[in-house]
Amino acid sequence: MTANTGTTVMTLLQALNLALMEEMERNKDVVVLGEDVARNGGVFRTTEGLMAKFGEARVIDTPLAESGIIGAAIGMAMYGLRPVAEIQFSDFIFPAMDQIVSEMAKLRYRSGGEFTCPVVVRTPSGGGIRGGHYHSQSPEAYFCHTPGLMVLAPSTPEDAKGLLKSAIRGNDPVIFFEPKRIYRTVKGEVPNDPDFTVPIGKARIARAGKDVTVISWGAMVHTCLEAAEKAARNGVDIEVVDLRSLVPLDEEAVLNSAKKTGRVVVASEATRTCGFASEISAFLAEEIIEYLEAPIVRVTGYDTPFPYALEHVYMPGPNRVLDAVQRVMTF
């Protein structure tokens, strides 16, 4: 057993694996299912070692059908289990959209609360791995647009572990976007306490600053932090807000930071039109426009399918964030 105090430095991937280990240990109703998750330990190795420890009954290699994975997970949840379903890449979640949007999201509401659906759908998302159209997208907005689903997107090992544990212990369906580009590259201190969790619906100030608020989530948070370091060298003090939880949104944290700086940039890898960055922008414009010194500026992917050869052109990097920062600073 790990000591219950202190922290251990680990990658985001290891933190997710540890969260699954601990929650499966803690509650025998937690089961893991998906493609290649058992024998192969997941194509990214997120579920490595789970089958050896908890057996094939609780760690299930499913046939290749996302609608089957999610549909079965919903059934398991209705019966009382707490399934953690893996969709290998968030780009492949779409065959399961009917199960997610029509069933998982609405089950509590349509049954008057008789049936609930505590399913966690873990899915790697985002670009930067040379994966082309179908291994790179950031589809979080589709799910934020569906009432009944919680949508989480951690950016650090600590939050990955703490939020996944909260998601598994919670009573609502969760779409849990994992920033696959930084699975192995971002390391951090993670509390050893097996009951450490991060509350859903709370943002994190990833970097405090006074001049401009940059709001982001997932892997993009690290791009924004890089931009903030560059800006600091030019005397601009950026506050980076890591949403962690898109739905429910930590409205208070977003409002407070925006009111403090009066200048807001929202940065996301996803395509621009109807992205979650647009929702944040609209929310702030409605609530606190009188505090703002400049228009709210979005930094996003382009409104094109995610490309292969031109990925490095498509992905918004720190300089694109800085362009937006300059725009709100000089308005």
Partner: protein, 369 residues
Amino acid sequence: MPAELLGVFGTGGVTKKLPVPELGRDELLQLHRNMVRTRKLDERGMKLQRQGRIGFYVPSFGEEAAQIGSAAALKKNDWVSPSYRQQGVALVRGVNATEMLDNCFGNSGDAAKGRQMPVHYTFRSHNFISIGSPIGTQIAHATGVAMAMRIRGDANVCLTYLGDGATSSNDFHTGLNFAGVFKSPCVFVCINNQYAISLNVAGQSGSTTIADKARAYGMPGVRVDGNDVLAVYATTLAAVEAARQGDGPTLLELFSFRMGPHSSSDDPSRYRPKVEEDEWRAKDPIQRFEKWLLENKHMTAADMAAVHEQAETEMAEAAKLSETKEAPSKDSLFEDVYAAMPASLKRQQAALHAEGDAHAQDRNAAFPL
């Protein structure tokens, strides 16, 4: 009773022997040449990936007979709705290796304009439909293409390729169901290579064979030794011609083995025993065909060596040519999203131009899956 396993060569668990199809020497040699070219293309593709010159590759080692034998049964005006392990089929359709390697390099010569990952080809002029990564979607497209052929009154057939994993997909059911209802001129070729990444076919389906599934859709299901190019050719031809004559669709199961990894990012030693690979290596489709060609005096060992050498040179030269081509232009990022570029996208394109090159993210390392 599960479906019989049909074969010409008669080894490898075959339960029913087929006669040797009527093929002239030139046609036999063409089958052989394309199988070897497919092998050499895959070897080149994997090598380029290992050297870091392309980001990703999906080999089709062990599936040469299944691809070449089936594609050879098609006519020029027939269509192919492929999955992403069909480079051999593309060669048979007349695509050259440079066209495929242009896609792997993602260069400006690529018909897909460098927008897709390697091996996601598109060859309109060869009636070879653009390949996507989602599993099974192409099956329903094939049914639709075949329905359209009927509506237009064309005597063409659409042949689709899928793997054992795709038989679990929604579109396997819907594609076969529609084709069964509408008696579409469609042939569903399942290359059962027994592994969907790490999952063995036994974990994919409770059905004894994949061919057995056909019955539920009201079409014949035929199970063939997929490493026997003559059997694959003969059975595919029968299915294609039945479809052409209005007798409806067929599900063909070509029983084979994925000799290589799922992709350049996969390591099969994590999930399958090496003895299984050794056992199937002994059933190598090229070696089996070469043995038959030698025994029947269609080729000499020297003839074969020459074919291998020519194919090796062909692929090396194709790679050299593809590697010299320029990357796609930044403007191409915004083209083909719509028939006409909307104002919003024009604005985004202009913004990209305005920022210059310094803003581009660094290129990343190889694709991890």
